[in-house]
Amino acid sequence: MSSAETVPALEAQGLCRSFGEGVSAVNALRGVDLRVADREFLAIMGPSGSGKSTLLHILGALDRPSAGSTSIHGRRYDDLDDRALTRLRGEVFGFIFQFFNLLPTLTAAENVLLPALVAGEPPSRYAQRTDELLSLVGLSDRAAHLPSEMSGGEQQRVAIARALLRRPEVLLADEPTGNLDSAAGANVLGLLRKLVDDGQTAVMVTHDGAAAALADRVVFLRDGKIFSEIPGGDGARISRELSRPPAAPIGVTAREAA
């Protein structure tokens, strides 16, 4: 009855992730606890190398934690086998990449349709949805265009449409504006905000304070741990938070964060 309020859309507990072994081991995450509510827009910020991408990969079932647990709407998935994780990626999560990752040989519409093809579902079932999504992202007239014929902003909007195709429970985006100019970036962010307003849950990694300001909540990661957390909307507070010692000089790391 009340589960809708109490069970978060996404929950992580004690997430650890290390790469390599012995002396060269890197502890990318060292105990992250995180809850993302239904219909929430969460931004993750932090200096380069702080573990943002690693966290997002684990949340998005692209990677598995070394320790800790993850669950989606109360269903644990850190301990699932590869086959089940694959299903989650296709059905439960929608991933948006910094470099768009459209398939160069497919048109915009075909790229949007790709998750259905990949799941072996008949494209006819998604014909109407594809049209709707392309018009949602404002690219109805570019349906038959190849990625090479589109700008970066347009490509990223196609990627968002693709991520939405199978109505994911959570949308995940890793620096979605990292490769776009400010106008295109603003356009993409506006789109994400609108999606959340319409009921979508979303988690976004970004190093752009202005982008984070659009989120409902911002968590700051440092050295693989959550360092602080503030509500979104307040741009000034976000920049203050980012420059708090011992934070790395943002101007330098922001570019590396790519």
């Binding site: 998005g60 398939l103 040989t105 497919l106 075909e110 349709l113 494209p123 014909a127 109407q128 949805r129």
Partner: protein, 865 residues
């Protein structure tokens, strides 16, 4: 709306569409990969057609000549002749309705100047039959009448007659064993089932005339039998068999036909093996090519995985790409194969094999395409598997670690596969000369395993060679040499795999050529040291290990003996058999007069003093060649059971002959023995020695004049010519196999082009920087050419090294086991040719990719992501 199949702007409706798109997006790679399949399927189909044609020719032949025959009586596996009296014994068997004996020979038609043609269509197989007996073949008279006894008439196959403008009543001049004869065409016939012997004609004469002209006065080559109504052929067969001796074969036409098809089986396996190499190398090129694309498309594949594609679906897109390429490649491969088949058939014909025009069969097409698809799937399987296992995070980080190609594990697995299979391959190919096709299949299988071992070991040879050659290249051209060497070294797996395609095909060529040149060298040495004959008189193009032979008449022998310049004339009678006495292998029975032959050729005997060997031979003993004796464990003092159509006896082994003639698959005996056991009364060759070295010139002239005038179907070869004739036959066979392997070398060339174009793609940025810094197009081209040269030279040199290594081991093995007479002779000129070919391939393969690289605009190159 929801009834639409696809959304606007989308044309693919499954991941198969994605496979198609990615094939189209990389046209050069697709064409090259499909090219490998075209060549592989083409050669496979060509050889399948060749084999099918040979079999169908023999099938037709048996259907035609035994069309109305129930049982055939002949020497064991058609070798040797039956005594004349056999026919009475056959007729006495209850259930025999009719028995008709025949003898056969080959005549050559003479042109208007009296010269005998050398082509297949100048030759006609002539049988002498008793025309009073019923017709045993399926021939149907279409004009004139059967030949009448005592008139030198011949009835001819209509098609052959037409080709030579002969009709009923016309006369033809032919060269026969007893000299030039003018025959009159009494009639024409056809075989309703069709019989195409690739130009050879057939004809029929009355038995008396044939006996006289063929100089076969008192034997039958074969007796055809018809059963009384109600008597089953099989029943009659066993009755006749019981009535005749052990050396006689009594068979139904069906079993005889089957037997001949089985005799071809070991040849078939060898042909399949050599043609399979192109497919093997093609499959390997596909493996390499798909490995490269999977590596290159890591981000794309990672994206598919991140979007929820299960591993098998990703793998399937790769396999579908492969299958699409295989199917397209197969279509062109079939077209190529049809062309190759007629070339191969022409080559076969030039060896004297009677084969019809290409016999197309659906089965051959299906088998070739299936083999092509299978090779492609095997090649694409590993890359597809790897693609399926690409981690989804690759979508974000791209790339993939380059596999380590010179691990100790790889070396160990490679050696474990290579060494035993090389040993097994050598033993099976050359160990005991068995004509059991199972041995051939085993040899093929071990050699294929050996190839896999070679592929695994390739990096350990190829990469040091690349480093070795890169050093001087860098000194000569610091910039381009450096870049080329880097390119070859940064992707060692790719470099090694590309070179390995050349390595495998060329190593086969080298092994083939080294074994051939060692045989040739050893035979030449023997001829030089032991053969002191001056002239060898034999039918044009004569092959001791060949099919039916015309035979020489006793009259010719007397004529040559009567020449004042003649010192000695010795007869040699050779009978090719599918089973030599004492073993299961093909070989030749050779008969000669030991004392007389000794005065011409000084073949070494071991195991007993010379005089004892000669005496033993004269008294009915036999002398196996050393190789055969070793293979079958025969020793002086032992016995061999001789079973021929004219007699059966157990003959003592009186010596071992140190001869490699006919691959050492020889059992020698006296003229008397070969006549009384095998019914071999006519000579195959005459070897002549001049009365003195000074008389040699005059003797040659006199013999040539005699042959030209009276026996234009024969030729007299000097010692040098005989040597060349003998070694040509060996070389011919190996060259034929090498020509088939040659197509695999072409596949290797495609592989290099493929790798280089991949290299251009990868190095686009680097090339752009060079261009931006002012490097000329020419310089860019040279960089690519250098990389190509490094790979192709590494491939050819390692092919030579591997080929020589295998050949040395195999030849040493042969010396120790089956061919003690054999010495190693290197095919020096071929090795040099291959090394030169390596340079040529390197330059040619670079042309296209180098053009592409040079065409890159500096800016475009820099923008490439």
């Amino acid at each position: 709306m929801s009834g639409r199949r696809r959304p606007a702007g989308a044309r693919v409706s499954s991941l198969t569409g994605l496979s198609l798109r990615s094939l189209r997006a990389r046209p050069l790679r697709s064409v090259l990969t499909a090219g490998a399949i075209v060549l592989g399927v083409g050669m496979m189909f060509g050889v399948l057609l060749l084999v099918g044609t040979i079999h169908s020719t023999f099938g037709q032949l048996f259907d035609s000549i035994y069309g109305k025959t129930d049982v055939v009586v002949s020497g064991r596996q058609s070798a040797g002749a039956l005594p004349a009296s056999t026919i009475q014994r056959v007729r006495a068997v209850p259930g025999v309705k009719a028995a008709s004996g025949s003898i056969a020979s080959i005549f050559r038609i003479l042109d208007s100047s009296g010269k005998a043609g050398r082509t297949a269509s100048a030759q006609v197989y002539v049988v002498g039959v008793d025309v009073s007996q019923p017709e045993m073949s399926s021939a149907e008279n279409v004009a004139g009448h059967a030949p009448v006894e005592g008139t030198d008439e011949i009835r001819l196959d209509r098609d052959w007659a037409a080709e030579h403008n002969l009709s009923v009543g016309s006369s033809l001049r032919v060269s026969t064993p007893t000299g030039v004869r003018a025959l009159r065409v009494s009639g024409l016939y056809t075989f309703p089932g069709g019989l195409n012997l690739g130009g050879y004609g057939t004809g029929e004469m009355a038995i008396g005339d044939a006996r006289r002209i063929m100089d076969k006065p008192a034997t039958w080559d074969e007796i055809s039998v018809q059963a009384n109504a109600g008597v089953r052929p099989e029943t009659l067969r066993s009755r006749i068999s019981a009535a005749l001796g052990r050396g006689v074969e009594v068979a139904t036409p069906a079993t005889k036909s089957q037997e001949s098809q089985e005799q071809l089986a070991s040849l078939d396996v060898i042909l399949y093996f050599f043609s399979g190499i192109a497919l093997f190398v093609g499959g390997f090129l596909i493996l390499n090519s798909f490995n490269m694309t999977v590596l290159q498309r890591m981000r794309e594949i990672g994206t598919l995985r991140a979007l929820g594609a299960p591993p098998r679906r990703v793998a399937r897109t790769i396999l579908i790409e492969g299958v699409l390429l295989a199917l397209v490649g197969s279509v062109f491969g079939l077209a190529l194969g049809a062309g190759l088949a007629s070339l191969l058939l022409r080559a076969m014909k030039s060896f004297g094999m009677p084969v019809a025009g290409v016999h197309y069969s659906l089965g051959a097409g299906i088998a070739a395409v299936a083999a092509g698809v299978l090779a492609t799937l095997l090649g694409a399987a590993w890359p597809a598997f790897k693609a399926g296992r690409v981690a989804p995070v690759r979508a974000l980080i791209g790339g993939g670690e380059k596999p380590h190609v010179t691990s100790a594990r790889r070396a160990i697995v490679g050696l474990v596969l290579f060494v035993p299979s090389m040993a097994a391959g050598g033993l099976l190919w050359f160990g005991n000369q068995s004509n059991d096709p199972l041995v051939g299949i085993g040899a093929t299988a071990s050699t294929m395993v050996m190839f896999v071992g070679m592929v695994l070991l390739a990096p350990f040879v190829v990469l040091p060679l690349v480093r070795l050659m890169a050093a001087p290249l860098q000194r000569a051209m610091p910039a381009e040499g450096r870049l080329a060497a880097d390119a070859a070294r940064t992707s060692p797996g790719r470099t090694a795999a590309t070179a390995a395609t050349l390595l495998i095909s060329l190593s086969v060529v080298v092994v083939n050529a080294t074994v051939a040149s060692s045989f040739v060298g050893s035979v030449e040495r023997e001829i030089d040291s032991a053969f002191s004959r001056d002239l060898t008189v034999q039918p044009i193009g004569y092959q001791e290990a060949g099919g039916p032979q015309p035979g020489l008449s006793t009259r010719l022998r007397d004529q040559i003996a009567a020449l004042p310049q003649t010192g000695v004339v010795a007869s040699r009678r050779s009978l090719f058999v599918h089973n030599l006495p004492g073993g299961g292998s093909q070989g030749v029975l050779v008969g000669y007069d030991p004392y007389q032959y000794r005065r011409v050729d000084k073949v070494q005997y071991t195991g007993a003093p010379l005089q004892e060997v000669l005496r033993g031979l004269a008294q009915g003993g036999v002398v196996p060649a050393k190789s055969y004796a070793q293979q079958r464990n025969l020793h002086v003092g032992g016995r061999l059971r001789l079973e021929g159509p004219s007699g059966v006896r157990s003959a003592p082994i009186v010596g071992i002959a140190e001869t490699l003639e006919l691959g050492g698959q020889v059992v020698q005996m006296s003229l008397g023995t070969i006549a009384s056991v095998y019914g071999m009364h006519t000579d195959s060759q005459l070897v002549v020695k001049a009365s003195s070295p000074a008389a040699r010139g005059a003797l040659t002239q006199r013999v040539n004049a005699l042959l030209e005038k009276e026996y234009p179907g024969l030729e007299a070869l000097s010692q040098a010519e005989f040597k060349k004739h003998t070694t040509d036959l060996i070389n011919q066979q190996f060259s034929f196999f090498n020509a088939i392997v040659g197509i695999a070398v072409l596949v290797g060339v495609l592989g290099i082009i493929n790798t280089l174009s991949m290299s251009v793609l990868e190095r686009t940025r680097e090339i752009g920087v060079l261009r931006a810094l002012g490097a000329s197009r020419w310089r860019i081209r040279r960089t690519m050419a250098n990389e190509s040269l490094l790979i192709s030279l590494a491939g050819t040199l390692s092919g030579i090294i591997a080929g020589l290594a295998i050949a040395v081991v195999w030849i040493l093995g042969m010396r120790a086991t089956s061919f003690p007479e054999m010495s190693m002779y290197l095919p020096v000129s071929l090795l040099v040719t291959i090394a030169v070919l390596g340079v040529v391939i390197g330059v040619l393969a670079a042309i296209l990719p180098a053009r592409r690289a040079a065409k890159l605009q500096p800016l475009a190159a820099l923008r490439y992501e």
